[in-house]
Symmetry: C2
Subunit: 324 residues, 2 copies
């Protein structure tokens, strides 16, 4: 399938926004709404690192879009559109690309975004490299940042933590003790993140600091604590775990380190004043997203995970060295 | 050199715009000036296709930025900033990256843009893949497009044509008859495009259609003619050639096909009403950019290159199959 066909038959139909100009020009145009600024973010994915050759192409595409939408959500931005970059060696056939772009179409409808343009290039190395730039909008000067956490803030997360890191192990057949439903749930959580695109914008004006969890809960909380010049205490027992995650942990308690240190959750981590709790829980309910308070901020530095007996958990190095 | 060092020491210092937020958050913010819209474009480059392993890293970086700035210029947009994506296997050392980012710093100063963010990922394949998204601004609804050419418009180009395609041959030692100055000039034109970032925005309100020449003069003129539903007649003798290009052509007349069909010129191709010629020449003079009228539009379709005897040149297929 040559570049002509790829663009005309599979890519151009995704360029639904007027600013995409039917992919006919050297670029696209984009204007934020009145009183808004754009939020822009770019995440890449490489075959052999972020996905495997035989992964379902629609899920590769949707994960690529969703990890970027998750960044927008973490900044409090409503998603608008995206540019796609695709470096491919030509070994993939039309059915592969059709499934890939069907995946994007599905998520475009789900999240209300349009392809705005991009680039497709030949890559001589036999491996696919993907790049996506996503655009959102937020009221001028209101984007959520990592720097605003204050002592006495509550610390909360959306959804459940650790599923994706365990899902990767499930895909690698390293969690053989789990039942099929749990394995499928965890694998799906790895392959298909759920960006919190409704709750993120709703947190504007309430959250003091926010980010998405991509490197692992402890690593990312450490980034947030460091940027905000606060310490964060997390209660291990309050960290929300899915049934599949809990089952895996029951079989192998050492997976606690994976849950705290593994990445790819793409849940929101945020802090806020205690008197905002009711409003935030109300908004979370409206968005259909679970929000769980898992800790507090205080003066000091670092992240400390406390077990039920009040002891500080020792964390493996792995959870601390990643970086988004 | 790990990702930490790379970001802190080499990348973060390039994030000079306030909206980059010191690369501390999940994305950057950007707001076009009052009455303006954003123009966005994304071009990728892959080792082994768009550059070679041993090419000077600063020139790889600058070319990556410049090909994107050229797209902005073709849309009439003033450049603002960019996101950088870098997929690397870790085989490059600190001095390589230092030179790469020094190249970007140099061009940031030259073109008045800031790094706004991006992503660095591991790539397992031993080859570098680069992605850049550039942002510019233009008065609302005034971006230049490929669709507006009208019968009786004049067709013009900036600079000289064919240098880059011959430069690639010079680098491959396929132009042995040329003197050293000409070889160096042509090689430089291949490695370091000159995006027309001042003239492009100046053409807003004058040019009826515009694009940059990346696939080759005839191929790109064909795109423009097709999108505008006009025919374009080009006079071979009016196409501006550099001294190096002319010398190569004198040695080997078959290079005419390379000049017309080769890519990577990154000059502007645009059309306008004949009574705008004086003003456009005046603006080109102010920008220090040569503008040469090379043809006209008329009703019909296709691109026709006419020799001094009024005969239509036959063009090789190669010049027609590329696509930006």
């Amino acid at each position: 399938m040559d570049e002509f066909d790829l663009i005309d038959r599979l890519i151009a139909p995704l360029a639904t926004a007027p600013g995409a100009q039917g992919l006919a020009n050297d670029g696209a145009t984009l204007v934020p709404g009145a009183g808004c600024e754009l939020v822009i973010t770019k995440d890449m994915m490489a075959e052999g690192v972020h996905f495997l050759h035989d992964d379902p192409p629609d899920q590769i595409a949707r994960k690529l879009l969703r990890v970027n939408l998750s960044d927008l959500a973490a900044m409090g931005a409503r998603p608008l559109g995206y540019l796609l970059g695709l470096a491919s060696d030509g070994s993939r056939d039309e059915s592969w690309f059709r499934a890939f772009f069907d995946g994007l179409r599905c998520d475009q409808d789900l999240f209300g975004v349009s392809l705005l343009g991009g680039d497709t290039i030949a890559s001589p190395n036999g491996l696919l490299t993907l790049s996506l730039t996503a655009f959102g909008e937020v009221d001028l000067g209101q984007s959520l940042v990592r720097t605003g956490a204050r002592p006495d803030d509550l610390v909360a997360v959306t959804g459940t933590i650790g599923d994706a890191a365990l899902g990767l192990r499930a895909i690698r057949r390293e969690l053989s003790d789990l039942n099929g439903d749990h394995l499928a749930f965890l694998s799906d959580r790895y392959r298909l993140p759920q960006p919190r695109t409704q709750l993120g914008p709703a947190l504007v004006g309430f959250a003091h600091a926010a980010m998405d969890i991509s490197d692992g809960l402890v690593a990312d909380a450490t980034h947030l604590a460091s940027r905000s010049h606060v310490a964060i205490d997390l209660d291990w027992v309050r960290i929300p775990l899915s049934a599949g995650c809990q089952a895996a942990l029951d079989h192998d308690p050492t997976l606690q380190q994976v849950i705290l240190g593994g990445g790819d959750d793409y849940e929101l981590l945020f802090t806020f004043a205690p008197d905002s709790l009711n409003e935030i829980e109300g908004m979370a309910g409206e968005c259909g997203v679970a929000v769980t308070v898992i800790g507090t901020c205080r003066s000091g530095e670092g992240v400390h995970v406390i077990d039920p007996k009040g002891r500080q958990l020792r964390l493996s190095e792995a959870g601390w060295r990643h970086r988004s």
